[in-house]
Symmetry: C2
């Protein structure tokens, strides 16, 4: 099942998506909800960020090639994480599929994409074992963890380098039935393939993260966990269009423009 959050006729709601038809529901997909009977064509609605999470989690460093290639770019030895430590991103930075990433006018040229699988939590949980961890997962969406690499190195908790307004495209929808093991992450810049990797080739998998996190914290419905990226990105410039495809899930597309 695919769920979208959208605006139509001046109203924002969730709906299920079947072929090109959106069927509106009252409430949120992971909570009590019912069909309102209202339908739209997908082409007639504006897609919104699929959820504004209560807490926005991000694994950050979770793929081997990304660590090796980033270390090489910086001329340092690669350091691999020893455990599933989580980090945060900020809700101010979220934008929807189709909206523009606006590069601040004082940013350097070191603007990079990071195509990521996003886990959407469906139930309130704490103290989950690895065996039970997937029980709290409602579905998946796609994220682009846009980064300004020079700010990222100096900023406390990456506040500007990863969380300037518009730096966190997420969408286009939440899919509850995807095969993570068969999935590939493909990134295209201006329709040219730029990066491809096996989505589930993570250093620490989703159950390992959820077990580690819920030992100390409660996950709530609508929380998101961005699972990190592999490989590296070219420096993106004004006018570039970046697509992050997760095969079987969808394509998240955003244009990059420099602030006037």
């Amino acid at each position: 099942m695919r769920w979208i959050r959208y605006t139509a006729d001046g109203r924002t709601a969730y709906g299920s998506l079947t072929c090109e038809t959106v069927s509106e529901i009252s409430g949120e997909p992971w909570g009590a909800h019912s069909a309102t009977g209202k339908t739209h064509k997908l082409a007639d609605v504006k897609l919104e960020v699929p959820v504004t999470p209560r807490t926005f989690y991000a694994a950050g460093i979770n793929y081997a090639a990304h660590i090796r290639e980033m270390a090489e770019k910086r001329g340092v030895q690669p350091v691999f994480p020893e455990k599933a430590d989580i980090g945060y991103r900020a809700n101010n930075a979220l934008i929807a599929h189709g909206e523009d990433v606006v590069i601040p006018n004082d940013a350097t040229e070191k603007i990079n994409y990071e195509g990521e699988l996003v886990v959407v939590i469906g139930t309130q949980v704490k103290h989950l074992s690895k065996a039970d961890a997937m029980s709290c997962v409602f579905g998946y969406t796609i994220g682009n963890d846009v980064s300004e690499r020079t700010w990222q190195r100096g900023d406390r908790t990456f506040w500007r380098g990863k969380n300037a307004d518009t730096f966190k495209p997420m969408g286009p929808w939440i899919d509850t039935d995807v095969d993570i093991d068969a999935m590939q992450t493909i990134v295209r810049v201006n329709r040219q393939e730029s990066l491809r990797f096996k989505t589930n080739d993570m250093i620490f998998d989703i159950p390992t993260y959820i077990e580690a996190m819920t030992r100390y914290l409660t996950l709530y419905p609508g929380d998101v966990i961005w699972m990190g990226t592999d490989g590296t990105s070219p420096d993106l410039k004004h006018g570039d269009v970046v697509e992050v495809e997760l095969t079987g899930l969808g394509v998240l597309r955003n244009r990059f423009v420099r602030e006037a």
Copy 2:
């Protein structure tokens, strides 16, 4: 004006507080709202976290004595921040005045308080100058940035060390009319004064932070900015009751208990 968020008769709402009387409103204090006519005695309601922010910002390191004393404890040279860099905390960790801070059972003895002034944002803003910065401030509340110091040193973005469930008491209310310049921060452990400092003796003041932040990010109504703390804390143990008083604003009181 003081605003509380509370539960009474099974319903959670905002209300204004005059002497010991709570007058319920519909909506949020910083948005369109009206009095419902319903009133309660303060003693009859359960205080809730005054707001779950869209984004939870924290200045972290913003007082000179805190930096000097923490460096001394760790046997390193103090490093003072060169600019107003912001960081994040996580909503899962928020608890209300009167609720217990639960120390995870595998935490060390290095459990510390940090008494902080909290700025509550009232309007959606971006690109504010220092001169206009205070225009977006709705009011103030009190925070206790509870920290497990050994985890804090190793955790990525302090996810456990500062954001384990219950590590962020905030409250008891939001006050829109306080004199920051006259304010003192006083922390008491089991009714004994343990720390006292001038609240506005910050390295970077509130307008400096808001100008720096809103160059890159949009602040939304209900966002909070925790402004940091001065001095240091003794190690807290099971049963300790910590009060953070901001003179003229109120007292935030929480008991610390160790997880069974």
